[in-house]
Symmetry: C2
Amino acid sequence: MDHCSTCVVRNRAICSALEMDEISLLGKMGRHHKLVAGQTLIWEGEDSLLVANVIDGILKLSTSLSDGREQIVGVVYPSDFIGRPFGTRTQHNVTALTDAHVCTFSSSDFDRFAQSHPELEHKLLERTLAELDRTRRWLLLLGRMTASEKLAHFLLDMSQRLVRPDCANDGPVDGFDLPFGRQQIADILGLTIETVSRRLNDFKVQGLIAVPSRRRIEILDRDGLEGIAEAA
Amino acid sequence: MDHCSTCVVRNRAICSALEMDEISLLGKMGRHHKLVAGQTLIWEGEDSLLVANVIDGILKLSTSLSDGREQIVGVVYPSDFIGRPFGTRTQHNVTALTDAHVCTFSSSDFDRFAQSHPELEHKLLERTLAELDRTRRWLLLLGRMTASEKLAHFLLDMSQRLVRPDCANDGPVDGFDLPFGRQQIADILGLTIETVSRRLNDFKVQGLIAVPSRRRIEILDRDGLEGIAEAA
DNA sequence: CGACAGATTGACGAAAGTCAATTACGGTGG
DNA sequence: CCACCGTAATTGACTTTCGTCAATCTGTCG
């Protein structure tokens, strides 16, 4: 049967570049996988490397040093594409932060299909360019910002992305639940868990935010936060 | 006349995806520009936004904060592509570190041409994916490494890229001239000029490197440097 | 209700940043 | 070819921020 016709992200994922009959062709090569929160996606499939579309849930991409230091290098939402087509293997781990559904393809199948479907490649190119822009802005954050600036940026960024359960973007919202624990926030911002905790507390004391529960954030003074985040 | 037939990077730049007659079509839309070291590339052309191929020289991509803090987010070598096709404007400045030649195209011309030449888009996609990988590894460096680790990585990285004047990759070499001053090294690694100077001096004292002149580096103990750089 | 992981708080240390002074390189002109 | 100048790099003294280690607290879930 055809998963694609009922796929909730088919209009936003790269598949949206394709006509209906092409989609179902691609669909035949794809496999649906369920991941529980914390589970790591294994890139070797039964007989080959994989790439995937995220259908539902939030996942992190991370790399680490031999002594355990970890850096999160990407956060992935529904409709995003993950993995490394064309040759190389991904150099980072992919771990589900929430329960998640992904639609996987063997790299080689996908590569072949993509090469013969320019619209698909074009969509993938646009996404990759956007992701590169985002990642480069992140370099500025990691290289040149203080802990408070990093956190303010992070909270503002999250308020724009985590609006609805399906992560569709509807403009910023002032209250939201983070899909991250403190350690993960630290791994995103290049800080320690203690520094995250302290600066978050500063914001609370300054009346900029409220933290009614571990993962809940409420922005009380957006302008104030933006002041700390600093104009780029 | 046709620049492309004599272009030194035509076999390595994205143009290499095209047949000879297609190249000269693209070539007709391109303009040759000469940049002197220090000059910033202006993205607004006479009537539109630009993208470009680097023919010769080394350029930096950088972003900065309102108070002057700067982060270099990319270093670009001959045959590399720069600029942001498809929609958005580049969010960073491009500055020549050495005298340089670039071949510019109006964004809209390029976009239209690319859309009708899948092989070109494919090449661009592969490059963008590779650049994204590189940038993500850089996140780990900025977020989680100490000053010494950053510098060791940087030097090893440079020794693999700066082999020959044309930057063709021929394997690592132990002596090379950096195209960067200390401030630029600092802006790449998210450090201050003073810290760069001090840690570089440590390496000198430890007999890992020699610095016979301002921009010259000689690696004396590659294994030692790799030990500091740490396994990923 | 209790236990445990996750988060916070505190005291302290270390790494990198800041500010200022000094030195050295590299290019210019005599 | 050498002396001089200006920029870039180095060095030193000091401060600040963040990290480390350890103790305590709290929310969540069985």
